[in-house]
Amino acid sequence: MYSDKVMDHFMNPRNVGEIENADGIGEVGNPKCGDIMRIYLDVEDNIIKDVKFKTFGCGAAIASSSMATELIKGKTLEEAWRLTNKAVAEALGGLPAIKMHCSVLAEGAIHKAINDYRIKHGLEPWKDDKNYDDDHHDIGE
């Protein structure tokens, strides 16, 4: 079902944990649907110095969190904002169609964490056109 990359990131997730007094925190998902993703950012000079996550969810959700945090670590906030769920899924060697929403959650959690940081710093939040807490998973096929 899952690629080796997904299994690796699920079995050995990178960046699990929390950051005390994080500069930005973003949480998306819904316990009803079986997944919640929370991302903590440590930002310095517009660069993501550190990132941690906590995730309640399936293997793909945990792997997506792990991969997404890896992909934005050391990046500028603008770069991190531009990380798409597709890029996360691709970096994982693909996700089953019914699990694509997990990568969407990762994109959403990052966006929320970035905007949390911007709001805390008195900046205008960037506009997001998706609602990541939606009950309705996007199921392929």
Partner: protein, 395 residues
């Protein structure tokens, strides 16, 4: 793989075929392969083998051989019973009663019949998964032609008061079907004493082969065919008989019902050791299903704050095979309809684990699971934002 040990605890999903059963089947693939409908010797031998299997199935549930029809599995038996009774009795009425916790083979069949103009009442269950008998009685109308209530639930293991339901159905002259796919070999069944008119079973749940099952239909009950065709199964189920499968079913049910009490005592002792260990070692854990009236090998527990699919994958890495009612493992949106029906909130239902024990499980298996499982649950909790909230005093 972290480990060489393999602990299969998903017998409610399917079982391996016992060596004796496979051995009984083997001649029928390559040597005694004749079509049972043929008049020549080779065909007549096949016919005898099938009738022998039929007798074994009949004996196991207290039926007559001529009341047993072989099918391609439990789902076909369920579909046949429900659609067969519905289409044959349409003139009498269009109302069917079943429960909220039936297998999808029943529920989705009922949904199809609703599209065909039938009305279906889905009776509730209590927090232990036991059918509400009052609600059942009250939902009977003049138009009720069929009651279908499963013998034992596949997820939470709860055993229903089948005799009482049989009595209610009989009093009102309504056909009573029970899906006994999970019950065979685990509960003593006598269809006459229990007033059961139809009963479904599937070989692969009691160490027989996949792809073969049976439907018992009491003499005198008329149902429409589901698989129309040749004259097989006394013209009631078309299709060349699955000869080795039927022989395997016969052998397997004979073995499974030879000593139900002894089997149960052994499995239940193991199960209780495992269950008590889990409840003791892992906090914030809840048993699902009836504490006593449950299948001997069934454990269904919810671990708060975590989700089941991840749990299964980590258990898999340690060679432990179980199952979950989490939606994430099935590709549907909602977690198990059974867990929701007994009143679990979605997030608790997502964190459920079913371990179903079988004949080859040992005390060492139990101890191994009791060693591995608590660590895995803790590991997932340490990743869980819900657990973080809880520990920090929020929720």
């Amino acid at each position: 793989m972290d480990s060489k040990r393999i602990v299969y605890m998903d017998h409610a999903a399917t079982t391996y075929v016992k060596p004796e059963v496979l051995e009984a089947m083997l001649p029928y693939f390559t040597e005694q392969f004749g079509n049972p409908s043929s008049v020549y010797t080779l065909g007549r031998k096949s016919r005898s083998a099938i009738e022998e299997a039929r007798e074994k199935v009949a004996k196991a549930i207290g039926a007559l051989p001529e009341e047993i029809y072989f099918t391609g599995g439990g789902s076909e038996a369920d579909n046949w019973a429900i659609k067969g009774a519905a289409f044959a009795n349409r003139a009498k009425g269009n109302h069917i009663i079943t429960s909220k916790i039936e297998h999808h083979a029943i529920l989705n069949t009922c949904e199809f019949l609703e599209k065909q103009g039938f009305e279906v009442t889905y009776v509730s269950v209590d927090e232990n998964g036991v059918i509400d008998l009052e609600e059942l009685k009250n939902s009977i109308t003049d138009k009720t032609i069929l009651i279908s209530i499963m013998f034992a639930n596949n997820e939470i293991g709860t055993i229903q008061p089948i005799e009482e339901i049989g009595r209610i159905a009989k009093e009102r002259g309504i056909i009573f079907h029970t899906d006994a796919v999970q019950a065979i070999g685990n509960v003593e069944i006598n269809v006459k004493d229990m007033n059961i008119d139809m009963l479904s079973l599937a070989a692969h749940k009691f160490y027989g082969p996949k792809g073969v099952g049976a439907l018992y239909v009491r003499k005198g009950i008329r149902i429409e065919n589901l698989i129309h065709g040749g004259g097989q199964e006394r013209k009631r189920r078309g299709g060349t008989e699955n000869l080795p499968g039927i022989v395997g079913l016969g052998k397997a049910i004979e073995l499974a019902t030879a000593d139900i009490e002894g089997h149960n005592a052994r499995i239940r002792a193991l199960r209780d050791r495992l269950l008590n260990g889990i409840l003791e070692k892992i906090p914030y854990t809840k048993l699902n299903g009836h504490p006593e009236k449950r299948l001997p090998g069934n454990i269904n527990v919810s671990f708060k704050f975590i989700e089941g699919e991840g749990l299964l994958l980590l258990l898999d890495q340690s060679g432990i095979y179980g199952s979950t009612g989490s939606a994430c493992s099935s590709g549907s949106l909602d977690p198990s309809h059974v867990l929701l029906a007994i009143g679990l909130p979605h997030e608790i239902a997502h964190g459920s684990l079913r371990l179903s024990l079988g004949d080859k499980n040992t005390e060492e298996d139990v101890d191994y699971v009791l060693d591995v499982l608590p660590k895995i649950v803790q590991r997932l909790r340490d990743m869980s934002p819900l657990y973080e909230n809880f520990i920090k005093g929020g929720r």
